[in-house]
Symmetry: D2
Subunit: 276 residues, 4 copies
């Protein structure tokens, strides 16, 4: 059997030796290992791919050996459960659903929830439950409560905002803390907020991009996971930039979900640690 | 003989036909042609590579045929004259000097002017006159006047700011209008101003970049010419980002000078038109 | 109304003037223009975006004005009809179908034909007719004949080989001359033929790629349309390279179809001219 | 003090635990660590950045603890000594010399040896000894002997072929086994041998590239270290491809030397392990 062990804790000398020695004692073979020490923040992060059968005592011993407050998880190779939120645009949602169909992502899309019904055919095409929760006539909090309750029924590991064009209430963000991944259609921190391609066109930039990030309560300010860009020219207007950009958004969003699903992604304050 | 004709004017129907027909009448063969119509701003831009011997009447006839206010130039294949301004960092200055040595840029660096003397050995290594104009004890305007007078003696076609770490006075910018190309060490409009790599590190971005742009009187706000980026990770701090970024700065700065030297670059309001 | 005029012919002096002057006489406004002269092969290529209403005489006059053998087309803005051939892999087929669903490609997929039935659910999900034509018990020529007859009923403008893992007979290639676009999973000419990712792994390359090309009778030797690559490392084996590579294949294949559908693609001997 | 420990040996269970525990016992703090297991070849590779003062017993104990035949090195932070071989082209040689001047590479170029004298001014500009060893009138073996004897006087850690346009004799390659890094101007294995840009132009590729690799006795077949590519179009001929390509060659060659100088590079049969 194959497992992924993730560890994060206060940094101190000898951590790798402690963890890997314990694995060795428990007859767990390390087939791949990544570590990172944030020397400024004094935090230690490690991801270890193991083969073998960890006993029940392994994790408890590990926890005992590590500094107080250490966060350790042993992930068995099941699929990561994801609920996707969308509005009207098909490309990010479709990109994930297609990759799931191809068996190229270690995720199971449990449901799609949208505030319009336009994308129902796309979800249905891939046999994924679709729920339309219209925001019409509801306050932001009421709508977020309704959507949140629906999400909660699925108990997902992750919530992916596949171009969900609504600002989330602090209550919603708190309810699903560190679980919400958004795709923003610019290379943040450039062009925060609405209509980034129009902003990019007005500024006359020669590159456009997209950013996948965790959501916190500052608009487009959460920890960045993945970014990518592409070249544009004077001949592109905001509309053609948007068309080109959708490919980048799709790719970047899928890559962020993939990293999360492979447990290669750690939140470190307002940044992320991403093991390749 | 080979020439480059550049044209920009108010857009109207039939411009390409007028220009190319006149070339044909004058026995000028078009070997390469690029046009762009800014439909929003109603401006027409064209770059035409010609073989043949244009008579004196060609340009005057062309001017007569085009809309009032048209700007036309016939560039003969001489090198573009450039004065480079620098401070202490070697990479952008060295990048240009090396490429000039390789015969890879259609430019002649007439002189290097710096506010410190650190880079004198580098300029000397490539047999380029070096002038140190210290800013110590001078007001911004006094220093800019001194530097400007020195530049003026060379009558350069272009002024390249090869990591010249000083903010230019409006007088200096006006004196060399549309001739000053700067390299900024971020993908603008992200991280305007000082210490962009520190800003990038603090924000936790996954890409860093550089931007070459014309200088106007808004800090880092002039028309963008070239941008490029590269991937960074959580393992990079501001210092290592700066080290990686210097390669991008060098490349982007050289590319901007090259575009200018090949007359592939037009200013269009606060944007540029760049023919590849 | 908006049209695209494509022209290719023997090069001679004054061609741009002739074509653009005729457009002007016919009150056709040029909104975008691209030309290329292959000076070695002495061929002229031009793509012109026009607004206005071309009369019937426009094209015949154009033909008269151009060198003998000139190939001119006036494309009205209808969708380009495509039949896709596939085998078992979903990513290229799904990539095109999803982009069609997003309205991001100027094409209409008329049908999917595969030699296995695995992809029927994917075609059905996007409401595209699916035909399974098994090769079992048939010679290559018999199978190609059967597939070709089925294609012929649709009279497509293009045939896209979306990872169709069969070598085509010369008769099939001749029957659909200059209409067949293939995606090969390497950056040609590296790793021609079978199992390119295994070849790439064995050679220890640090980049892998994909190539879209027109099909002729030499294996993987037809005119190249689009190529793209991505970085890999020592940690990738052939299987993980294939997984990474599928994203590139999907992107490159879609881009090639898009270029064809926008009439930006010309065959020039064993090369292509691609206007961006 | 800061050290880099490199380890390679036959793979077996518990290696990371052994090495890191020994570091811990010797009060050596691991600030960065990379491992790779080649599961197919059953080889283990590890690079460890340490702070502390390793005693004399550390390495001998380490060697005892590891499988027989293990290769371990403890590198102190001195500069890696390099002799560069060149012919007439300036860009790769100049690229390295400029980066050395910028303090951007952890290397010391001890000397430049060329079979023509053209590059003497460039080496002199950077105060590096230059030796011209003409091949005229000498057999390949005689010339290689002469060059090799000259190199041997410098006892370099690495020999960089900065566009050295000569094929090396097996004797020369054996004499400096695993120390010679070449830059080839194509994305290998495409376009092995002479005139790769001409080959690329003839084939009509849309990307060109460069490859840095260790030299063995098969032409352009040694372990690949770094590759990079850039887009070209139908408008590029072999000459303009070469011009564009020189930038890639320069970048790729510098990056390979940098990886070697930071001990991030291991040879693994006919491949390399490269830690980023």
């Amino acid at each position: 059997m194959s497992y992924i062990l993730t560890t994060q804790c206060r940094d101190e000398i000898g951590l790798i030796a402690k963890i890997t020695s314990l694995c060795h004692e428990h007859n767990l073979n390390i087939v791949r290992n990544n570590e990172f020490v944030d020397t400024e923040g004094k935090r230690f992060f490690m991801r270890t791919e193991l083969t073998g059968t960890p006993s029940e005592r392994f994790l408890s011993q590990l926890q005992t050996n590590l500094p107080e407050g250490a966060i350790t998880h042993l992930h068995s190779p099941t699929k990561v459960k994801v609920v996707l939120l969308a509005t009207k645009e098909a490309h990010c949602l479709g990109g994930v659903l297609l990759k799931q169909f191809e068996n190229a992502l270690n995720i199971e899309v449990q449901a799609v929830i949208a505030n319009y019904s336009d994308l129902e055919p796309l979800a249905s095409a891939f046999n994924v439950p679709f729920h339309c929760v219209s925001h019409e006539g509801l306050s932001r909090n009421e709508h977020d409560k309704k959507v949140g309750d629906l999400i909660a029924k699925y108990s997902p590991d992750l919530i992916g905002l596949a171009k969900y064009m609504r600002i989330l209430s602090p209550e919603f963000v708190a309810r699903f803390e560190d679980k919400i991944i958004n795709i923003h259609h610019s290379f943040l921190p450039a062009f925060i907020g609405a209509k980034p391609y129009h902003q990019a066109f007005e500024r006359g930039v020669k590159i456009i991009g997209a950013t996948a990030h965790f959501v916190n309560n500052e608009l487009d300010e959460g920890p960045i996971i993945v970014q990518d860009v592409t070249q544009v020219t004077h001949a592109n207007n905001a509309e053609s930039m948007a068309k080109i950009g959708r490919d980048i958004e799709k790719t970047v969003f899928c890559k962020a979900l993939q990293l999360a699903s492979e447990y290669k992604l750690f939140i470190n304050g307002n940044k992320t640690v991403v093991f390749k």
